[in-house]
């Protein structure tokens, strides 16, 4: 899935941790933000627009643009650029609008 990243690390990482993105295991430097880790791993887009499906990717890296919203361990609307990576983190792209109810009552694409 991940393509070759447009970024590379200046030097080798002292420590790495394993995280999961869209079901694939990624080895990333410890101590960096989740957004930096995903960019380095060649993840080209981290969310899909609630309106058009347009792919979104980390843009400002400082918590302003909310383009890097992802789902982390079942929690939606996490700003990947402000979240330090943690071993075992399970990350999914944020797709479309959030469902209001987490259980079976909500229908897919309920905002349509």
């Amino acid at each position: 899935m991940p393509a070759e990243s447009v970024f590379r690390a200046l030097g080798p990482a002292d420590q790495t941790v394993q995280i999961e993105f869209e079901g694939a295991s990624l080895s990333v430097p410890a101590g960096v933000s989740l957004a930096a880790a995903l960019l380095l791993s060649g993840v080209t887009h981290t969310r899909e627009s609630a309106v058009s499906g347009r792919p979104g990717a980390p843009f400002c890296m400082m918590g302003v643009c909310f383009e890097c919203l992802v789902e982390v361990d079942g929690q939606a609307n996490c700003q990947a650029c402000l979240l330090p990576v943690r071993a075992g983190m399970r990350v999914l792209r944020q797709r479309g609008a959030r469902e209001f109810l987490a259980d079976g009552h909500a229908e897919e694409g309920a905002d349509e």
Binding site: F7, L10, C60, M62, V64, L82
Partner: protein, 466 residues
């Protein structure tokens, strides 16, 4: 559960926030500093404590200068709380925040908003494509994760940060495909002639010119007076095309970093319903405050770039000044000491601010990159184009707040941070009225995403007494 009240809550640990904490603790005040980052420094000194020698060398002297400040701050007795997301500040000086996934609230006798600046949006065709980021984002990746572009990178726009990042990349051995500059040599001469007292700004201007000279020596392709910028690509950025020197250029690059200056982060001050004025000089909103930084809400202060863009040195002084004023209002500073120290800070501030009108004029962002063509997406959260906003105006929409009802513009998760200034200017141009007459979004909490579970389990701040 003990409900503590602290003398001062500082929001943000950049130069303004840290120096305010230093001043206030020096006068015996209890201070808590809430910061969105994991360690102090703000954007300018981001990650300074962790950066290794190589990174510090690449980032340069102005960055290294932050190490001493951060070390002093960490020893000053203020309680630093990192990774804190502030989602509400009330006029009664209660600050609500998320930390480690929990919601907490803290009452302050005074609050200092030192939230700094973020980059002005640069809405050009294609700017929403993956592979396009801000220059600030590139610099944050360098500072916080030592990440650099794998292939030659293209930088586009204007302003000192763009040149600084180019030089930092050069020092790191990174190839620069091109520096596509939307400003030109004429801008400097014009500004020099038009701004009274411009000569006082020569020192700051020289810094910029030295950066440019370094780029020239390294043979970086620097194209000036670029117009009609467009990012090419289908699912991913592949090139930047633009007009310059009477012809159309197309320069391929997989990573394009945009920048056209920085603007105050006014999210909290708007949410507090403070008065804001439109600055024609800086093309942004500026919260109204007195000469010490106090807003129209008693006990709530603003210092640094979050008030008006003045740079790190001015932010340091404004932080000191606000910290002093707060200590004085708490009865911790006698009037003679107050007068003496204030006079000292004011004199230094005047010197720091002298260069600003010139810098603002030289790097004034082009109108076409602020008020874009119809096709360009302005609100990235809700995919609203400039053309759609103009249609709203034709239907009677008077200002940014109404665009929400007309087409959801500004209603996404970023709450207008990234489109607000563009929307104000687009509507003002379309209505042919000043930006001040158009206004801004009505910003409401929660300023950061919070779950109902977190909200329902909010607890008062319960750290050890300071």
């Amino acid at each position: 559960m003990n409900k503590q009240t602290v003398d001062l809550i500082v929001i943000g640990a950049g130069p303004a926030g840290m120096s305010a904490a230093l001043e206030a603790t020096g006068h015996g005040l209890s201070v808590v500093v809430l910061d969105e980052q994991a360690s102090p420094g703000g954007q300018i000194y981001r990650n300074i404590l962790q950066a290794d020698a190589r990174s510090r060398g690449v980032l340069g002297d102005d960055y290294q200068a932050g190490a001493g400040l951060v070390a002093k701050f960490l020893q000053c007795g203020a309680l630093y709380l990192g990774n804190a997301a502030i989602w509400q500040v009330t006029p009664q000086r209660k600050v609500h925040y998320l930390i480690d996934g929990r919601a907490e609230v803290l009452q302050g006798r005074h609050v200092l908003i030192a939230t700094g600046a973020f980059e002005r949006p640069m809405p050009i065709p294609g700017w929403t494509l993956p592979g396009v980021m801000t220059a600030g984002a590139g610099q944050i990746l360098l500072k916080s994760a030592a990440l650099v572009p794998r292939q030659p990178v293209l930088l586009a726009g204007c302003g000192p940060l763009l040149y600084l990042l180019a030089v930092q990349y050069l020092r790191a051995g990174i190839a620069i495909e091109a520096l596509v500059d939307t400003s030109g040599r004429g801008d400097l001469l014009r500004a020099w002639r038009e701004i009274p007292g411009a000569l006082r700004g020569w020192r700051d201007l020289l810094k910029g010119l030295q950066l440019l000279a370094e780029l020239k020596r390294a043979g970086v392709r620097h194209v000036r007076d670029a117009r009609d910028l467009r990012i090419e690509g289908q699912a991913q950025a592949s090139a930047l095309s633009f007009d310059s020197g009477g012809r159309r250029w197309t320069i391929p690059a997989p990573l394009i970093l945009l920048h056209q200056g920085v603007v105050p982060n006014t999210q909290i001050s708007w949410s507090l319903r403070l008065e804001h004025d439109w600055s024609e000089q800086q093309l942004c909103w500026i919260a109204r405050r007195d000469s010490l930084g106090e807003t129209s809400l008693p006990g709530i202060f603003i210092a640094g770039d979050g008030g008006a863009i003045g740079g790190a040195q001015a932010a340091l002084l404004e932080g000191r000044q606000a910290g002093l004023a707060i200590a004085a209002s708490a009865g911790k500073v006698d009037s003679r000491q107050l007068r003496q120290r204030l006079a000292h800070y004011r004199k230094a501030l005047r010197r720091q601010r002298a260069a600003r009108p010139l810098i603002d004029a030289v790097y004034r962002p082009q109108q076409q990159n602020r008020i874009p063509a119809d096709e360009v997406i302005v609100c990235r959260c809700e995919d609203v184009s400039a053309g759609a906003i103009r249609q709203h105006v034709a239907l009677g929409c008077l200002g940014p707040n109404q665009t929400k009802a007309f087409g959801r513009c500004g209603m996404g998760p970023c709450q207008g941070r990234l489109c607000g200034l563009s929307v104000t200017e687009i509507i003002a141009e379309q209505r042919q009225v000043p930006a001040a007459a158009v206004g801004y979004y009505r910003i409401r909490s929660p300023l950061k995403p919070i779950t109902l579970a977190q909200l329902s389990t909010e607890t008062p701040f319960t750290q050890e007494p300071l």
